[in-house]
Each structure stands twice: as C-alpha cells, then as structure tokens.
Subunit: 318 residues, 3 copies
C-alpha cells in the first residue's frame, strides 16, 4: 500500500479523523481507495508495508466494544504498530482523574496514534486539542463514528461500483445512532439519495435539515432502495418511552423478507452489529443472500488500516 | 524447530485441535516430539523460527484463566504472532450477541488461529464449523482440554521415557473434569494403564466404558502407580451434594505422604493447577521431590508452541 | 543506548530492582544517566536498540494503575520485548491460588522480566526469591515505588542540573505513601535536603529517623524550597480519622499560589498523579508555569526503559 499514490490516495490533509463532517468528497474517496488496496494486501501478508513499525498506538476505550477495538488492534498490528489497550474501567478514571488529565498523561508518553471511544459527544474533539499525536474517533456518544461510515461506504462501493445516485434507506433508531449520523453525512457528500425510516420517537429533531427524506413506514421507505441499512436497537431503549414493545417494534420496523421485498430486487442489507436477531432484523434476512453484514466486518479492518496509514504520513520522522 | 521433520513431527493432518478424541497415536507422538524440540529452542531464543510472523492469533476466552491464556499468549508471541486477547466479559456477549455472531465477526477479521475456552461442551466444535481459521480448544465445559493432556503426557514421557505400560492414577473430581477426560483418552491411546480414583459422587456414569479401572479408595487406587495425577476440586463443589465437607474430602482423597507411600517408590505427582492446598493435596507433597507440578507449566508453553507450529503448516501462503 | 558505557551507565550490579533502599549513589546516578539517553533515543525511534527482542516481559499488577502499567508496557515494547499484561483480578487469585503458586507458575513459563505491583509491602521481595527472572517493583503496599523515585529525580536533575544540596519538600500523606518513602531514600542518598510537611495524623512513626526535617505547617515547610513535591490523598483517607474534611485539608495542606509563594521564586512543583484537583493541589498551580507534572510522565517512560535495559544485561544469552 503506497502512501504516495499520484491521485486520490495521496496525502490525507488532516492530522486527526474526528468525524466525517468537514471531509471533502475527494478525501473520502481517497480513503476508500486506500482501503480497497488494504483489502488486497492484507490477503498476502508479505505485501503489507509496516508503516507503523516502532510506533505506539493506544486504544483508549471508555465504552466496551468487541468489534471496533479488535478491528483497530488487528489493523495497527498488521501495520507493525505496538498497540496498547487502555483498561479504562480499571484505570485512573475510577480514581476521579479528569478526561483532560488522562489525555495529558497519555500524551506525555508520546504515543503516535490515539484511538478513542467515549460516551460523550465532543470528548474526542476535546482530547484532540490537548494531545500532540493523531486522534481517531472510534465513536463519541451520539455524535459520530467515522470509520463505521467509511467501512459501510467501502462495502457498498465494492458491490454497486459507486455511491452516487444510489437510494439508501437507514432504518431504526436514528435518534441515538452515531452510525446513522456519520453515514448520512458521508453518503450525502458522495451524492447518494439518503432516506431515514423510523418511528417519530426515534427520529432526532432537525432531521429534515440533514438532507434526508424521512419515512415513518418501512414499506414506503424501502420502496426502490438499493441499500437497506438496519441499525441496532439499544437494549436500554426497549422498554419505556421510545418503543411500545420489542414485539411491536419488530412487527413494524424489523426487517424481514416481506418488507425487504419492497426494496429493489438486487437490494443489499447491512447492519453495523452486534445484531439483535428478532428485534430489528429477522435472522433469515441477516444470514440471507442479500446480506453484506459479514463483509462489513472484513471491510472494517481494511478501512482502519487505510485510516492509520493515511495518518501515519503526518508522524514526525516518517 | 522444523516443520519438515521426516518422521513423526511431519505434517499434522488436522486443521484444528478440538480434542484428543479422534487423534491417532502417531499424531499424538508427533506433537510430543515437536514439543520436545520446542523445549530446547525456547531456551535459546535465537533458535526459534518465527513461523507465525505476520499472523494473527486471537485468544477468545469466555472463562477466565491465568495459566492457559498466558501460556498460549507466550507461545504465540515466541513464534512471532500478533496475539490479541478478546475481553469477552466486557464484550458483545453482554450485548446479547450469539456465539455464532461472535464467531462470524471474528472470522471476518481473518485471524489465522483462534484459541477458544468456553463454558459449554461443544461450543468449540460449533465455532470451528463456522470459521475459516484454525481453532484450538483451550477447554470446553466438561468435555476436553487437549493441550493440557498433551503437556501432561510430555511431562511424563520426559521423566519416564515412555507412556506405554505405565500405571497412571487420576484422582479426585473426575465427574466435572475436562482434564481427566482428555487425559484418559490420550493415555489410553498411548497404551498406559489408566485408573480413576474418586468417591461415587464424583464419577461420571459410563466411566466403565472409558477403558479405565475404577477405584473408590485412594490406597487401593495408588498401589503400584507410576504417576499420581491429582485434579482440582472446584470451590463450587465443596459444599453440597458432591462431598460431605472439605475436611472429610481431604482425609479420604487428599494426597499426603501417607497415601503417596502406596504408589511406587519412584512415583511422580502431577496437578493441572491452580491447586487447593490442603483440599486435594498436602502442600508438602505438592512442593516435594516427587512433584512435577512446576514442570507441567513449563511444558505447557512448549506444547502450545508445538501445536501452533503444527497448525501453522495449514495456513495459506505459508 | 549503549549498555557498555565506560562510566556510570556501565553494568548495573543488581539482577532485580526491588527498592531504592540498598542502592549506591553511583548506581542511582548510572540509572539516571541511562534514562537521559533514553529520553533522547526515544525521540528518534530508529535509534532505539531492541535489547529486549525475543524477551518476555510480564506486567503482573495486583492493583490497577493506568500510568505505571502503561509506562512499563510502552517502555518494554519500545525495546522490542513481548509484553504480557496479567489480568490479576480475573485470574487464579480469585480461585484462591497463593501468591507463591502464582509466582511459581509464571516462573515456569520462563519470562525474562517480571514487573510487579502488589498491595502488600514485601510481596515483591518474596516473589523475587521464588523466580529466576529479573523482578521490578512497580509499587508494593506502602513500602517502595523505586521507578517513581527515579523518574522524579531525573525530572529534577534535568531542570536543576543536580540533586545534591537542593531543598525538597514532600507534602501531604507521607504515612501511606510508597512514593514518599522511595523519594526520601533516593534524595537523601544523592545529598538533597529533604523535608516532609504533613499533619501529625499523616506522618509515620519513626519519620525522624529517616533523615528528614519534619514540618506540620506548609508555609514553614515550603520556605526556601527548590522543589515542592505534592502527594496524592487517597480517597479512602478523606473521611475519617486521618483528616477532618477535604475542605479543611485543602485549606491547610492544598498547594495554591499563596502557599507556593513561600518557596523559592524558581521553585518547581511535582505530583506523581493522578491528582485530586482542589484537594491536595489547586488546578491553577498544577497547570501553571512552575509545574513539572506532565514532564514527570514523560520521564516515566524513559526511566523504565533505562531500568529494563540495565537489567537486560543480566539475562542469559544476552
């Protein structure tokens, strides 16, 4: 994977990746091109260039996550980095240290890359202002999750050949989803027609100003869609004000074969995982021929390799 | 350590190591030969061949374990692998993801080797059917723990020069012990005379069909034994239906000098650890001249290196 | 970084680093010289000599710690070691295994370096007697924390050019602080004038015999000080017998601009972290121009690299 490709995969002009917001379409496409290359080279391990050899990558996760943390760990190690996972629950946070002190402490150890997940929107931006190294947002509250949006776009592009002019329906808990937010921004930037489909209680106010078409009915929302992107329903929303019951939710918003039939015949199904089978998606659809769910995970490693490599160009002595 | 030894240490014909059951005696001996070599090379680090360089080994432990996980981690790193420990308690399992989804997720990240411990018998076999990489069973419920049986056999063979025709008494909680099960299968396959010694409440039904002699009295069971292999009594069995009391248990089944005297004069004592000193074994015996307990741990790293190396031959691009 | 420097940075004559007590001043200075070199080389990663390549470093932490464990992990990895963090809370300790059994188990895996933190004073010495590898004390109860004292000394020396004849005031919870204890021994060994400043309830008996001047009043204790070293007040001491209230404590012993004014004009402020802002230190002072607190963390990595490299010379086959 070369950092010196003449065209789009050239220099990524940002030192951090904090969100999709603010990225230019050409920058997004450049990252997707790099990720395509990463998919290829990681199938032949002897072709991977260890651009992070001798570099320290710290995965600082204030929220647990199997797939995102593992994916960043594997991506970093494949590129030769020393990867350190910070046990945040078992750490100084318990002792009452502030986020800023944690950041300053880590910074003083001179890591090269900090991958951060935090439960508060904006925490990652705050950190990035306080440290000298590159920061990657691995999910901050209900704000952004840029590498998830990139891997979703990569998966779509590898199957449909493009993003522009595709009709993409994002369905479910839009209100609490950083995945939805990053995807809406990215897919709009690349010229897709983005729809959101959800009950009113799971739609954020101001959704109309995000450049999406809003549907409250699945069948209407899925009509003619090229891509059906389901969102995870957080367990803590399942009882209470947001949805009447899991059963009701599944009946109206769970993706099954019947609802999927309203989308285009060659429509593809995505989910960021982990899935609640039988809540937002029927297992038969999740494991069916139209599903890209496993491939999304594979693309996750490639996208993270691409982002790490893009940011590595900004490291001193590189 | 050469993967191309002409004789027994040649190609291991299985892509996974899920249990001792189903292995041919020659295959077991081949692994023990490799492990003997691993003991030697790991004493001179410059001689270790990094056959797993650039490879990803994931240790997926659904049950905590100091020694087994550490042992696999050290073995993998010595062979050059990128080793990732999955924090299963802090992971998606909490979020209700199924074992199959976890497997599929990991698989999509293209690990080369998956080392799995799970509290359910059969979980490891299920996983192996769902993933593309090699799977090593690091203990599944009360079913098998094949690398423990291999390291026990290696330890015995290095001291007695053989396994065949030795009299080996396995004592204690046979009912709940995957260690006992794997050892019985392995030692029988190599021609040992295997005895089990336990109170009736700690013997599985059908034990008679496993090719062992059954004793309910320690002194009888130890008479003439070459090897006395003690098992850990799980704390959760200590009160209740299985044994009347720890004190009673120790009196009848705890290995002390007096009971050990019934075995052969040169009998050797083993325990898979961690020990309950004063419950199943007298500290004086555990630390005494006949004990191989520390050496078992050392052999644990060698055996895991041998198994990893044997399976590495099946990796693509190798 | 050369292990063969002719002068002080030559052979470190000890196989373990269990405490500052017992080290000769020249040995301490030798470690500080090495650490100075480590600061330089770690800014140019291509100059780091991987003296621990192929070596296994186990971080065995019985108490959680963000900065100390991370710092040892980064230091070890920069020197090429395979670093393994032992999940002690999730480990055999829960199953009732003794410290000695844990030590013997680890030892049988042939690690090269064992970095240990334990809540009991003396536990690290006990371990060192039971294992074959080098042991580094990363904090044992209220006894010693030698690498913290070394990094404090390094930080001071880089700013003041020396340790000897400086007046250094260590303030706060002296009674429970292994940091204070190691610092008192080290700074005395190098010829500093050491003061302790604390309420009577937070002074250990026998403090008079440690070669320090004792003050109960901050302003008196800080008069003419070159260095003001604040200690963390453990949360568990904050209510109860040791201090009347956090508010009272801050008023009398919290370092603010007013109290700091009693020290020399060019006095520098230190804290081992994590800080309780508003308890033992005013945030304005912690982040102010006289504060060395961030630099202490940076020096932490350098000192641990220096100690690891010094002990590496004792490893077999080196």
């Amino acid at each position: 994977m070369s950092a010196n490709d003449p065209h789009r995969a050239g220099l990524f002009p940002h030192r951090h990746l904090l969100g999709i917001e603010g990225l230019q379409p050409q920058e997004i496409l450049g990252l997707l091109d790099r990720a395509d290359q990463a998919v290829e080279v990681s199938r032949q391990i002897e072709k991977v260039r260890p651009v992070l050899r001798g570099r320290t990558q710290i995965n600082l996760f204030f929220e647990a996550s199997t797939r995102t943390q593992s994916s960043f760990e594997i991506a970093g190690k494949r590129l030769g980095a020393d990867v350190m996972n910070m046990q945040v629950a078992a750490s100084s946070v318990k002792k009452g240290e502030t986020l800023i002190d944690t950041a300053a402490t880590l910074n003083a150890m001179h890591p090269d890359i900090l991958v951060v997940r935090h439960h508060a929107a904006g925490a990652v931006h705050l950190l990035a202002r306080k440290v000298d190294c590159s920061v990657i947002n691995a999910g901050d509250g209900q704000h952004e999750h840029p590498t998830q949006a990139l891997l979703d776009a990569l998966t779509i592009r590898r199957h449909k050949g493009k993003i522009a002019r595709l009709t993409i329906a994002i369905c479910g808990d839009i209100l609490h989803s950083r995945v939805a937010r990053s995807n809406i921004i990215l897919l709009n930037a690349l010229g897709a027609r983005v729809r959101v489909v959800a009950p009113s209680t799971l739609l954020p106010s101001g959704i109309d100003r995000m450049g999406v078409e809003v549907f409250r009915d699945m069948k209407e929302g899925l009509k003619g869609a090229d891509i059906v992107m389901m969102l995870r329903l957080q367990r803590e929303r399942m009882n209470g004000a947001f949805i009447p019951s899991v059963r009701e939710y599944y009946r109206f918003y769970g993706l099954d074969a019947e609802k999927l039939a309203y989308a285009k015949e060659d429509a593809l199904v995505m989910h960021p995982g982990p899935m609640n089978r039988g809540v937002e998606i029927d297992p038969a659809v999740a494991d069916g021929p139209q599903s890209l769910i496993r491939e999304q995970v594979e693309m996750g490693v490639a996208v993270r390799m691409a982002v790490l490599e893009a940011l590595a160009a900004h490291l001193p002595n590189q």
